[in-house]
Symmetry: C2
Subunit: 227 residues, 2 copies
């Protein structure tokens, strides 16, 4: 560790998750440049010598979206020798959770196309990006079992059915409606609002919001989120 010996290229790649139409989606870009022009890829970029990894990840996100302070977490660092075809590049991966309704694209010149793709429809990505996506998803799954981060994916006001649906999609299981509601209401984490859906062709659902105080507590200490 005394003399700096080798230099390596270092990138960050971000898996940006959103929840929309009952599906979990990722924000992908279609590459405009070689290698692998025309394929879908995770948003990413090289780490500049003067920025921390977290800052690099935030920069990548803000070049693409205009969302302030979204939830973001480092996932894993991929360092296979041949993961990138043009030379050795190590990738530090992050995932971010965004309220998809807040989302606004800021297209940049390098990018041909940007889209929210449902995870179920993502077949192939450039390089090892599919593997990075899988790892981010499994990290999210683990995280969501014990910390209330799933809420970052919902709008400010949401119904209990939306919330249940979100957990079902992330965890890949079906949950019992009554047990789910019992558990969540018992956690004192959400607050019932005086507002309901309008214009729906069935009984209107109540909206809820999070109690930010309790949210912070649960986020720090974790819980046993067995539903």
């Amino acid at each position: 560790m005394s003399e700096i010996k080798y230099l390596n290229a270092l990138s960050v790649d971000c898996v940006i998750f959103g929840f929309d139409e009952g599906e979990l989606k990722a924000l992908l870009i279609k590459r405009k440049e070689e290698p692998s022009s025309g394929m879908w890829a995770l948003p990413g970029g090289f780490v500049e010598p003067t920025e921390s990894l977290d800052n690099a990840a935030m920069r990548v996100l803000s070049e693409l979206t205009s969302i302030p302070d979204m939830y973001m977490e480092q996932v894993y660092t991929f360092g296979g020798v041949n993961r990138y075809p043009l030379g050795r590049v190590i990738s530090v991966s992050y995932y971010a959770l965004v309220k998809i309704s807040d989302y606004k694209i800021q297209a940049t010149s390098k990018i041909e196309d940007v889209a929210w793709l449902p995870l179920s429809e993502i077949k192939e990505l450039v390089f090892d990006h599919k593997e990075i996506l899988q790892k981010a998803l499994s990290t999210l799954k683990e995280r969501v079992k014990f910390h209330p981060v799933g809420f970052e994916l919902l709008p400010e006001k949401f119904t209990l059915t939306q919330l249940q649906n979100l957990y079902e999609v992330i965890l890949g299981v079906l949950l019992d409606k009554r047990n789910f509601r019992k558990k969540l209401l018992g956690m004192d984490l959400i607050i019932k609002l005086d507002e309901s859906q309008i214009g729906v062709a069935h009984r209107a659902a109540r909206f809820f919001k999070f109690d930010p105080e309790r949210y912070k507590e649960w986020l720090a200490q974790g819980f046993n989120f067995k539903l």
Copy 2:
């Protein structure tokens, strides 16, 4: 991502955990070179352009110990701009679990001293290594709750009291002896041997070993290790 733009120095740092005399310990080296000569540090080294991150971590371990195939897992990547005083170095951290009885030092010329230090006695480490150690420990804590990795720290044959003691030390809680035994024996994970302690000034404890088949199952699927 198309042209490789910036180069960064990249190191791996390893937190090597061992369990001995009822304590959790880490294998540290005393630096012989500047900067911070004479201070304790995590074993680490620069990542060579031709090796994967995992290989770099294994190389660091094998330069120090002669243990084949120990349990190893990536923890986190530290990329603060000023974490290393002589220039920008990003550190990918790993933790390893070793059966301390197997351990044999292979001193190298650069190292002044190598020692197993109990975590409770580790006050200060070079650079941000203390932070890396903390992160590795909290990752281990999380891991051990749902996967049977703690067993990697024990010798082939162990007593239930040793096992309980290990969990108590890692998790930082006291466990009930009867409940602990009930749970573990019910998991079908350990096998009672026909061998007991000898020469102890009290009733001799039975030795147990792991069932490697079940061990692999539990390792893959995880469990809810609420003790």
